[in-house]
Symmetry: C2
Subunit: 414 residues, 2 copies
């Protein structure tokens, strides 16, 4: 189908989706989950084609692994839909209510965005995941997945559409752009008037391409150059435990730590311990002059290192003379994602909380907690690193907008 | 100064501005107000150059009027600053607070955006106005005003910077791009990493240019193709009063009505009254077939008419068979600004409130109330017609973002 036709259908169906009652949406999510499991074999067969093409084209093992679908993964997708069905419906929530002196009664009400576009890479599970969240929040969704997963995505999307039809819901609530031509993706990013918001999910490169080419409002997600600052008043045992967790628990995620900032007063005591811990976890250290002086195995860090989201077994180290320098260093190099101070000094902690410019600022905790599930949102569409609209973990509420409903008795403006 | 230098300074100063206490900000706003009045003559002299250039270049009378500054207008600018000083400071407000089962204490705190860019036309009062609001909300601001007002803007900006310096505040909290080359404006729209959000203020053309060229998140403001729907259960006296107000009280504003939608059951009774009222106010009517049949002076409306924000003494008329058709018509042609139903039928009213897709949806009131002051926000930077971030009138709160502050006791992720 032509892109413009897809967009027109989405714009048409959004009025239907935004008025679906909670029960109907939940029932549909459960039906989609069941149908995905029932049709698992067909989806796995389609996925096989993508996987074989990927192998032929020399796709990396990590990407192949993300592409692969088996019964267990399809079950996980279905269970994800069931979890979303359990979550409270954000639509219709009255977030403010006030009356003006002229008698106008104003309510601020949470409403769906309308049409949400999701652009992502060759991870077919996102197809189901993104549908679940956008649909529950009352939106129509248009998906543009990576071309390497096109057969899987078509199979998943068609299965979900079938389930919606069975439930008496217009299947255009979810549409997949099947055309894998790059120029179509660019056109999609400029469908103002049809698509209300675009959310790219994937690598820094993908997100940059969307930010640069889109004329539709974008929620930028993802890149995390996260720091742990060990203050002079830090409990050094806590510091070691937190750094090991933040750096090594999962290496390739946006909330993993990429840099240690350390107060010079504790560096001689702390850094050798840190070096030992990193060695045990096979993490390469790249430090500034003051830090490498006390860590024999560390390599020198370049300017570039401090700005880098490694997503790898590497960590940079910067020594500072006080919390102010730590804050300035972090604000210079971070990506606005997650930053943590390890300290028992309440004043330093508050300063760090107030002055570090990031979505999530921690005291004595791992940056790995920046996550919709860990925050109790029950779901996550991504982590916003921009300041417009949503910042940090985005759940169902963050997939809504609001409107003002104003009731009068004939008021006119004087 | 080079654009990149301006942006670097803004990024640097934002950390200072976001940490200014409320008293210091208010004192600075009052000092800026006083200084503008004290230096009024210099500003008026600079404005004279712009005005004379405008006349020479054949600028329209309406634009010349918007460009003109005199003592009274400078006093109004200063008073505007004083009003903003009185408003509550949105920064630091804790909007949510919760504890997770693992003991992490999470606060959602309102914080400044950082650096806000404002792009506007030859209206020098915006220079002071935009500074007041962005500064009070804790932001550094970079202004790019219309080149036709460059001398006025330089005089105003320099005066404000002087006042800030006197108050011990880094004057780079407000910077003006003095280079009037168009390519600089385009570069400004792509200063990601320096500017957090762009707000264009002005004509539909200006806003479109920003939306199309910006890679920075934009808050789209302005265009209003607003409708009044007169339902079959309308109080027709209320309807006439409201339409006269919405259409004619101020013709060139975005919350003025541009179209009447009327239920066929009341058209024969209502439209002749409406025609008479519009005639008295010199408003041309362009109607569909059913409506022109009962209004002899009306012209036929084209498809294009229904999609048009006239900002003029013209109104389109569409007849519908029920509230559903009214809603569908409005959702097809509107710009997501303000829509009103006139009815005594509560069910029809609620349907209209729920289903019309617009920032502000009214029952029995004029669309002219869509305004930050009328909503009680005490200020307004514009009316957002997009769904991301803010929708409808934007006051100080809408010029902020939020961050999560999380306090732990050594928690790591399992």
């Amino acid at each position: 189908m032509e892109l413009i036709e897809i967009c027109k259908r989405a714009k048409e169906v959004k009025y239907e989706v935004q008025n679906l009652c909670t029960d109907k949406k939940n029932k549909a999510l459960l039906a989609v989950a069941d149908k995905l499991e029932a049709k698992a074999q067909g989806i796995i067969n389609a996925n096989k084609k993508d996987y074989e093409n990927g192998e032929k084209n020399g796709m990396h093992q990590g990407l192949l692994d993300r592409l692969l679908l088996d019964e267990k993964r399809i079950k996980a997708m279905a269970d994800g839909l069931r979890v979303v069905a359990e979550l409270p419906d954000p639509v219709g929530e009255i977030t403010e209510e006030f009356e003006r002196p002229n008698g106008l009664k104003i309510k601020k009400v949470r409403v769906p965005m309308g049409v949400i576009g999701i652009i992502y890479e060759a991870r077919p599970n996102v197809t189901a995941d993104a549908f679940a969240l956008t649909f529950k929040a009352g939106n129509a969704v248009i998906l543009k997945g990576g071309s390497d997963a096109i057969n899987s995505n078509i199979a998943i999307a068609n299965t979900m559409r079938e389930a919606l039809t069975d439930e008496g819901i217009n299947p255009d609530a979810i549409q997949l752009i099947e055309d894998t031509d790059r120029s179509v993706t660019t056109q999609f990013m400029q469908m103002n008037g049809y698509v209300d918001v675009l959310i790219p999910r994937g690598s820094a490169g993908l997100i940059r391409a969307v930010v640069e080419n889109s004329t539709i409002p974008v929620i930028e997600t993802g890149t995390g150059n996260c720091h742990i600052y060990v203050d002079k008043a830090a409990d050094l045992d806590k510091a070691i435990t937190i750094i090991i967790n933040a750096k090594t628990q999962r290496i390739g995620v946006c909330n993993a730590a990429e840099s240690l900032v350390v107060h010079e007063a504790v560096k001689d005591e702390f850094l050798p311990e840190f070096e030992k811990a990193m060695k045990e976890h096979n993490v390469e250290i790249r430090g500034d002059k003051d830090s490498t002086a006390v860590m024999s195995s560390a390599n020198p860090a370049t300017e570039e290192d401090f700005g880098k989201e490694y997503l790898d077994y590497i960590i940079s180290v910067k020594t500072v003379k006080d919390v102010d320098e730590a804050i300035a260093h972090i604000n210079k190099y971070n990506t606005g994602h997650s930053e943590s101070i390890i300290t028992e000094d309440k004043e330093a902690a508050q300063k760090f909380l107030d002055r570090v410019d990031a979505a999530c600022v921690y005291v004595n905790a791992s940056t790995r907690f920046t996550d919709g599930f860990e925050f109790g949102f029950g779901a996550e569409i991504g982590i916003s690193t921009q300041k417009l609209h949503a910042r940090g973990p985005m759940g169902l509420k963050e997939l809504t907008s609001y409107k003002y409903q104003i009731v009068g008795e004939g008021q006119i403006r004087g």
